[in-house]
């Protein structure tokens, strides 16, 4: 999918964009509806998300992340902008661009595709309850308190599950905890 994005960026290839559109449209919309967005708004945000991929593809490069993660972040930010009129999220990527420029050039470049594989394997190894809190957070868009209420567990339990999951994912990519 990184190749499709490159075609969009470099060649402005409408066919490559169509491929990404067809792949992600149903998924992004499904996620937004799970997060409580109404159907019409979900369709609108989904289209805006994928058009942002077309418009902002020049901001993306493979060494800064992964296509699905990028699309996830755009959809997340647009949804937040819609429901909370938030000013920050939509620009976080730009902040990351700034960070990239100040990053120590001697540092090893990160292979995000490789990291994604490691993360995927680590997710598969997570205990069900830790995976569950991540899904409720990332896909259902629930706050920590809402997750605690949904699962009928103390807030501290949700926090500790998230913390443990985070550390395991971090460990999976062989970086220091």
């Amino acid at each position: 999918m990184g190749d499709q994005l490159k075609k969009i960026t470099v060649e402005r290839d409408a066919g490559a964009f169509r491929f990404l559109f067809l792949t992600f449209y149903p998924k992004v919309k499904a996620m937004l509806i799970r997060q409580g967005t109404d159907k019409d708004a979900a369709e609108e945000i989904t289209q805006d998300t994928l058009l942002a991929v077309w418009r902002k593809s020049h901001q993306f490069s493979g060494d800064r992340g992964n296509v699905s993660a990028w699309i996830y972040a755009i959809a997340r930010n647009l949804r937040i902008d819609r429901i909370r009129r938030q000013l920050v999220s939509q620009r976080v990527r730009e902040e990351f661009e700034t960070i990239e420029r100040i990053r120590d050039s001697a540092q090893e470049p990160v292979s995000w595709e490789q990291r994604q594989g490691e993360i995927q394997r680590a997710l598969g190894r997570l205990p069900q309850e830790q995976l569950q809190v991540l899904q409720l957070s990332f896909i259902d868009g629930l706050t920590q308190s809402e997750i605690a209420a949904r699962l009928a567990v103390p807030l501290g339990t949700v926090k500790s599950r998230m913390r443990l999951a985070f550390k395991k994912l971090r460990f999976a990519t062989e970086r220091e905890i």
């Binding site: 402005r12 964009f17 559109f21 067809l22 992600f24 449209y25 149903p26 998924k27 992004v28 499904a30 996620m31 289209q47 058009l51 077309w54 418009r55 902002k56 593809s57 020049h58 800064r64 992964n66 296509v67 699905s68 993660a69 990028w70 996830y72 972040a73 959809a75 937040i80 909370r84 009129r85 000013l87 920050v88 999220s89 620009r91 730009e94 902040e95 990351f96 700034t98 960070i99 100040i102 995000w112 990291r115 994604q116 993360i119 995927q120 997710l123 957070s137 990332f138 896909i139 868009g141 706050t143 807030l155 501290g156 500790s160 998230m162 913390r163 985070f166 550390k167 971090r170 990519t173």
Partner: protein
């Protein structure tokens, strides 16, 4: 570029999933703009979001809709030119870019309001339901915040200067996070003014003042605890006036019983079975006085003013109260201030500690001194006793109405 103090992992998870409030998100975003490690973590967490997105099951109807929409966009011609970046023009080295977007101006242009002497704040307007966010300027020595009595969380980001607590020094870009079980009291440190961005989920953050502030800072109007006292004062004003007129020369008691003991402290405590217990106004006050309010009594030509500062449960489960009592001697206009902690034992208040506070610290009309930690010994006793958060409002009233039974 990185920091030494970061948001907690679960906070980064919630940030990456977009489930933090605006206020907390802004603080995290500002931290990310200054901390490549956390930015890396968030990117990695977005991989998790992307993978979960990829794994979502879809319904066929949406696939058909996607086909239609894709065809529509192809027919309409996709927007050809990428949008240019629209980063703000304001360039203030103090402000992280995400904050500039909220403020829309430089720090020098902000309108600050004094909270207490040495602490100024500037509220940042957010949409309703977005949490609270403000900038704070503190002179060295001032507390950034006291732990609020709430299970919710809050974040502070140091933008200038140094803050310090038991976990170490917080420099520019460092985050101080507080939650229910980890009360913290970071304090501006170093030589320069400290500027922090502070955000919370609708929690009022209580400001406190430093242990060693100059006397001129210790003024009643800076005491949030005493706001309620003003109402109480008005209610008692008439009674007090009558009591003063009638009491002088007669030596009768407004609260408690008259005694011949020459030691003023004995108006407050007495020894029973080798233990100090409260008596007179102190006993009455500890029984019925809500935290933050004060009462008056007259005995032997002195006016006693008692105020309860705080109610808490000890680790043994007893209810304890920290109090202050000022004696104003009418004859020579001298004044003495005592503070103490007493815990309910059976039908009595066992006094754990009571000490005379040096007279230079507080004005004669003031009962509860401004600031925390008036006496290290008092603080030590308090720290050894207290368990959990102080009881306030209806919780305190319920225990009081129940006769302070465990």
């Amino acid at each position: 570029m990185s920091s030494n103090h970061h948001p907690l992992p679960e906070t980064l998870v919630s940030y990456a999933s977009g489930t933090l409030s605006n206020a907390l998100s802004c603080v995290v975003a500002c931290h990310l703009s200054m901390c490549s490690d956390c930015a890396d973590d968030v990117r990695q967490l977005e991989l998790v979001g992307g993978l979960m997105l990829e794994g979502l099951e879809t319904i066929p109807a949406d696939t058909i809709l996607a086909e239609r929409a894709a065809t529509h966009w192809a027919a309409q011609h996709l927007p050809g030119e990428p949008e240019p970046d629209s980063l703000p023009k304001i360039s203030d080295p103090l402000l992280p870019v995400p904050l500039v977007r909220y403020l829309g101006t430089e720090v020098a242009q902000l309108r600050w309001k004094m909270v207490v002497k040495g602490v100024q704040q500037c509220w940042i307007t957010l949409p309703e339901g977005s949490g609270e966010m403000r900038l704070l300027r503190l002179v060295p020595g001032q507390l950034l915040f006291k732990h609020a009595n709430s299970g919710d969380m809050g974040l502070a980001l140091v933008l200038q200067g140094v803050c310090r607590d038991h976990a170490g020094d917080y420099l520019r870009g460092d985050v101080i996070e507080w939650e229910e079980d980890s009360p913290r009291q970071p304090r501006a440190s170093g030589d320069v003014e400290c500027i922090c961005l502070i955000a919370s989920d609708e929690i009022p953050v209580t400001f406190a003042r430093p242990d060693q502030a100059p006397r001129r800072l210790r003024r009643r109007r800076y005491l949030p605890e005493l706001r309620v006292r003003e109402i109480w004062d008005r209610k008692l004003a008439l009674t007090t006036s009558i009591a003063v007129i009638a009491g002088i020369g007669l030596g009768w008691l407004f609260w408690g019983e008259a005694e011949d003991n020459p030691f003023e402290q004995d108006e407050l405590v007495q020894t029973e079975n080798n233990h100090l217990v409260a008596r007179g106004i102190l006993q009455n006050g500890l029984d019925i006085l809500p935290s933050g309010k004060q009462m008056f009594a007259f005995s032997k030509g002195s006016e006693f003013r008692l105020a309860v500062k705080m109610t808490f449960q000890s680790q043994a489960g007893d209810y304890c109260r920290q109090y202050y009592c000022r004696e104003n001697k009418i004859a020579d206009a001298s004044s003495e201030l005592y503070s103490g902690i007493a815990c309910r034992t059976g039908d009595q208040w066992a006094v754990k500690i009571q000490a005379l506070i040096p007279p230079f610290r507080t004005a004669a009309e003031q009962v509860i001194p401004a600031g925390e930690g008036e006496d290290p010994a008092m603080d030590a006793v308090l720290a050894s006793l207290i368990s959990g958060d102080p009881l306030v409002g209806q919780d305190e009233a319920a225990v009081m109405n129940n006769g302070w039974k465990k």
